[in-house]
Assembly symmetry: C3
Homo-oligomer: 419 residues x 3
């Protein structure tokens, strides 16, 4: 185990989250991480923060908000050095977040730059049957090269999504999805200070390949939050005392129980809209079923660095060897020597657990184009996490919503060695 001093580790993390990775990602067609946006002032509502992503801009045309989605194939860097060929919108998977306001008339142009036809279904949005985007049923498909217009008036508020509805299993498996968030007309309704949006996803990407396998149905190996995997996921940064909403959408094939440390929250909304306050339940983990969204709200009253992650433990791991033999408790000494005669470079692992793997991961070459199973370094050493993991950073003082580095715990508030 290599123990580094805290400032070195902070620098390493900054490297991951910072400009080098971002510049490379941008050059490959994936979006810049969204620059921090200022806290809302006066009567305005908090904008949506789509970490590692962004909000889709619109233009006003005769009283209609016109958006433009472009469906295409992109190379996206899920973590430094791990590039994946995704299908998405406007350069990334998930596509940009659509933000609008209840009562708006919206027109969404969709251009298809994919090699096959597509359509867009506005999941959870109440609209005319012909705008529902179920290919073959609601209207025609958008063929490669074509642009279609969907237009409707928003008569609800809440957390919805968009995705194709036609060759759906393949197109969604490759990454075609995004958030569609409709704010209430009254900015005081459901007001929060910070409002985060995450799309979860599950991928099967064999180590050494870059193309997700759309025929996988149960045994995924890469788990993402807004198209990144830990340690490349960005932290949610909030000020002590702020009211925070986290919105999560799930279009993978498996449930994601999203757990927040250090706080309890109320489940405040679904893809059917807000839950009235008097009907809400408190949870520490919100189950996000497939084909749904869940909003949670809480006061960030506990300063610190708090893990936020899916609680299925294999969803916080990166690509794993699924054929990895069970070596726990096996003394591989002699066998390793024997195997070593036949397989030069053979290296036995796992006898005492798997933590040793992370400590070795920087010292030996791994497979090409993948990410170590367990990764990330915190102020106290390796974090041994991956996938759907990030942090909520709560600070008493904040100059901006940039990553403030690691929490400096007050003296006497950290678990201590007694023997």
């Amino acid at each position: 185990m290599i123990w580094l001093r805290r400032n070195v580790l902070t620098a390493a993390t900054a490297l991951v989250a910072g400009s080098s990775f971002a510049r490379r990602a941008a050059a490959q067609g994936a979006p810049d991480p969204q620059p921090p946006r200022p806290a809302p002032q006066g009567g305005a509502r908090a904008p949506i923060t789509t970490l590692q992503g962004r909000t889709l801009p619109f233009v006003m045309k005769d009283g209609v908000k016109e958006f433009h989605l472009v469906a295409g194939e992109y190379t996206q860097e899920f973590a430094p050095g791990f590039r994946v060929k995704v299908w998405g919108y406007n350069g990334s998977s998930p596509g940009p977040t659509i933000e609008a306001v209840e009562g708006d008339r919206v027109r969404i142009l969709v251009t298809n730059k994919l090699p096959e036809h597509t359509s867009v279904h506005w999941h959870g949005v109440l609209l005319p049957s012909g705008m529902d985007g179920v290919g073959g049923l609601s209207g025609p498909y958008i063929k490669p090269g074509e642009t279609y217009a969907y237009e409707f008036t928003l008569r609800q508020n809440g957390t919805q999504m968009y995705h194709p509805h036609g060759d759906e299993m393949l197109q969604i498996a490759l990454g075609m999805m995004g958030m569609f968030i409709i704010h209430p007309k009254d900015p005081d309704e459901g007001r929060v200070d910070r409002d985060f949006a995450w799309m979860t996803h599950a991928w099967k990407i064999d180590p050494g390949t870059s193309r997700p396998n759309p025929a996988e149905m149960t045994d995924f190996n890469i788990w993402s939050l807004n198209g990144r995997i830990f340690p490349a996921t960005l932290p949610m940064v909030v000020k002590t005392g702020q009211r925070v909403r986290i919105r999560v959408g799930n279009l993978s094939m498996v449930e994601h129980p999203m757990h927040l440390h250090g706080h309890h929250f109320e489940v405040s909304g679904t893809d059917g809209g807000p839950i009235p306050p008097e009907r809400r339940w408190r949870e520490a983990t919100v189950q996000v079923p497939v084909g749904t969204t869940r909003d949670v709200e809480f006061i960030a009253d506990n300063p610190g660095d708090w893990a936020y992650h899916c609680h299925k433990s294999h969803h916080t791991m990166n690509a794993m060897s699924h054929a990895f033999p069970n070596m726990v408790g096996v003394n591989q000494g002699e066998a390793a020597a024997d195997i070593g005669k036949l397989v030069p470079g053979y290296m036995p692992m796992g006898r005492t657990g798997m933590a040793e793997m992370q400590s070795m991961s920087g010292m030996m070459p791994g497979p090409r184009n993948t990410s170590p199973m367990m990764a990330g370094r915190g102020p106290y050493g390796s974090m041994e996490m991956g996938g759907m993991f990030t942090t909520l950073k709560v600070r008493d003082e904040l100059a901006s919503y940039d990553d403030p580095g690691w929490y400096q715990a007050p003296a006497g508030t950290v678990a201590w060695r007694v023997a």
Copy 2:
């Protein structure tokens, strides 16, 4: 892609849902699709509509409603030409829906025509311990050829189920299950205009075989609603403005998030009975865990043809080749030519996605006794769905609850091509 005119497609759909398939199914022991039942008049409650199924009749004997279930093996046509050997009740899987009223005394005779013993557990029904149907614990098993009587008074209302409790994994995997719906004593309590019941199920049926594999535990390939798979599932037909309840039961081994387009609903009941109105949540997708039921209610205020389906995207596909190689983005031209020399008739697929597979499915022979992965034709072309998919058809005018054909969207309300 073959584009047919709307009336041809409507005719094709009628063929699937209509008399030819139904007659064949009946001849094989599976039930007729239930004929549409009239809307309730005056003070009567809406009867349960078990599409593709039916309600179990009873006879009154000395103030007791006596029902008769017969457990047996049947051949059931899941979709035209795809015949499956199921275990079920009274000719089908799921068995007929038991409908009764709170306060009723019921006696249910169960005759076992299976090759092994069975029992019936009345899931969620409050009754004496000896009537609970857990083989070995509550009472003896019903041996092949025997008939047992279960008798109890209903002291609740809600959506319950029945299924064996003994060699349970095998018997349920083969299809033994049904709905047990208890109406409130007061017909105005929880009144709706249309009341639908669906049993979901997951099967592993290797293409070319007809016997589900009861030893499969995670990797299913056929997903049914009331024992049929899309495009053989019937639509739910309702009139604009009606209050609609949909009840869903799940005795498979995996959760089913049931999503309705064009409407939000409230989750109004579980297998523990109705949820009081002031405690309900709105959703666009209701997660139906295993071993539970969920009722949802809504006003059908949005005319159109609305998809209703499980949102796990592989659950809206039919039998798939699980060994299908990942060909997305692979130019198979030269390789295909080479393979073609060795394998006459070899046909490369999937380079641009899988949508092309549906367009080919009518042109080349598939495996025997299965169903294409993606199927169904709508008014605007192929729908590329399967499995747990059907529609809710909402119409301003209805002469009957027969399938009214495809929705004619008013001019200007369908997404349109702009480039």
Copy 3:
């Protein structure tokens, strides 16, 4: 099928649950089943009953409740003769239940006797960032041989858990987990008469081996309640009319829908604390997502022996041959004779279902160190269950909370043979 008289079966069950198995388990480092604790008297609250487990004792030091957890590897007997090498705390998996009261200052010493580093995260507990136990992020890991102290004041009540947060997938897969239950300050708040705690878990233990495979992520074969599998699970014993709470925690990788027969319950709590009574839902099955807890409450008003189990039917089976061929409906007569020439002792099974397997399980040798797929005998014969299955025994009269034997159903209240 071998039918034994009721008293013989009761004796057989007593053997399983009784002293022989318990003594052996204790000798191997696993804990005694907790002796029955008396019902609460006067103003005291009901203690937690962790069946097959126990509550962790503490010592008071200067107003602080000091607990001591020891992480280590142990051999635990999941069912008679089936020994598993688990990682756990203080001799067992799950570790002992921590019970404390809102407002308490607690100090928890953790000694690491594992071969690799660990940490303890107090799931759902509101505490300072440095006590949160996320290795590398909240504080240092506990290296082998070291002891750390975690100390914090409890400012909530409810059902929480503890588990490692570092090499988490492996350590949890091997069994490292426990319940952390915080009682309300006021003993009348949420008062019940009986209060049970269960930790569920999923394991992959190949028949003939004793070491769970921590690299398995989807296809588990052993399902436990408090580290035992049916028929070695103990029953919950309650008196008619008592108010009962059942708390369930889930740190496996898959959801567990826990179903109770003969009663409906309200879901009364999560890992975010109690649900206010006016917001609760009634259920017959509570879905326990991964990384959560669920409390349910009900009045035990229905005397009898009631099944309590996970409703995923493969979770109530023990180790299965996942390569078991589908023999349902196959007459193996001739083939068996042919195979028998090549494979002496070959025995065809499964043609009429799998129930025959249980009846044979005592007559032929099975694989070493595993448990029959279907097991357990009730008063009326084989129960054909396994894994996450036990019973709730409700009796009008109880001298103690020892197992009262099988329910004697009043005459005329058991389903009867009519033909």
